[in-house]
Point group: C2
Chain length 184, copies 2
DNA sequence: TAAACTGTACCGTTCGTTCGGTATAATGTC
DNA sequence: GACATTATACCGAACGAACGGTACAGTTTA
């Protein structure tokens, strides 16, 4: 059984419980694997599990999100495609973002650098789309930041109010918001 | 020494480390009180500490944020005053929001109801200001949600990128964003 | 048979919590 | 004024449970 099998399950746990809250007991129960088996697949323990999940997410983003930004069509269409993919990733607002949870507690020191790099890359990708559409780079950068802000914020509010629709609505309005005052 | 003395310190810990990450050892070190002394002030343990901090925050909001929405002036001025207060609360983007951290891990079951109530109250207060300014209630409600989304999101991104300026910029643009297409 | 995998028992540490007790200052009693 | 009592604040030491992690023998699989 390849170890990728357990990654989605681990993702689910870490983004729901956070690093400190995702105990080995819970992981063992959720995966159906004993502790020995977990340490066979992930000799580095919880750290390595999180790293593996981040590897998985980076691959997923590279294969799903970035291509949707680089395909054909207007900037608006590209961003709409991206949002569709993100809705899958976050299960329509029912699941929190793991990167955000990793900014808390003991996890921060361990993973902050990597989270920071991912946010930067994501923001830059979106900014590039807007620059290509004719926006100046400063504004494009700001709107890239605004995208991540809206995603993260609406996930939190959706969790807080126990209402995924809030995420869906935000996501639906987001592309037009990012493309406002744009010629094409 | 009244127990309110330790509340700001506890707030700092819980919003930085989360419920699971804010261990009694850390709390003891930060407050300078022995573990046993902590149980003298908070017989209910960590739960009671969090509740006390939430009490404190609700009082703070009632005394600082809500009045700024109910004073004189246009909707824009009211919202700007509110944002100034929020910037204090989150220390200009350097501190995360405790409500958001309490949505994770073992804390969720314990505090979700109260967090939900606070978000609702906050959204409704802002929506009311916009309704008074002539906006229809559906749109006003959405913009209230958008406010919390922007606050929470920009706090996360500011943490993730280690750059509080992002929070400051979002907060500065927020009032005009909420008041767009408004007569007064 | 060799390698991959797993169940069980265990390690030292840290968790939240509790107990017994001390120091100090205020309050009541004579 | 002298003394006993009480309330408040605090702490060292220890509790059982759970933590992350390991050692190893046994089982499955190719």
């Amino acid at each position: 059984m390849p170890k990728d099998t357990y990654i989605p399950c681990l993702l689910q746990l870490f983004r729901q419980y956070g690093y400190d809250g995702a105990t080995l007991a819970r992981i063992s129960e959720a995966t159906g694997l004993g502790k020995a088996s977990l340490y066979h697949h992930f000799p580095g323990g919880k750290d390595e599990m999180v790293q593996a999940v981040m590897d998985y997410l980076e691959r997923w983003l590279a294969e799903n999100v970035l291509p949707s930004l680089q395909g054909n069509g207007t900037a608006l269409e590209k961003l709409q495609r991206m949002c569709d993919r993100l809705s899958e990733l976050y299960e329509a607002g029912r699941q929190p973002c793991m990167s955000a949870t990793l900014l808390l507690g003991s996890a921060r020191d361990l993973f902050h650098a990597r989270v920071q790099a991912r946010y930067c890359a994501w923001i830059n990708s979106v900014a590039q789309v807007l620059v290509d559409a004719g926006l100046n780079s400063t504004t494009a950068q700001q709107r890239g930041e605004d995208m991540v802000i809206t995603i993260q914020g609406s996930l939190i509010v959706a969790q807080g109010l126990d209402n995924p629709d809030i995420f869906q609505r935000s996501l639906q309005q987001l592309p037009q918001q990012l493309c406002r005052n744009l010629a094409t």
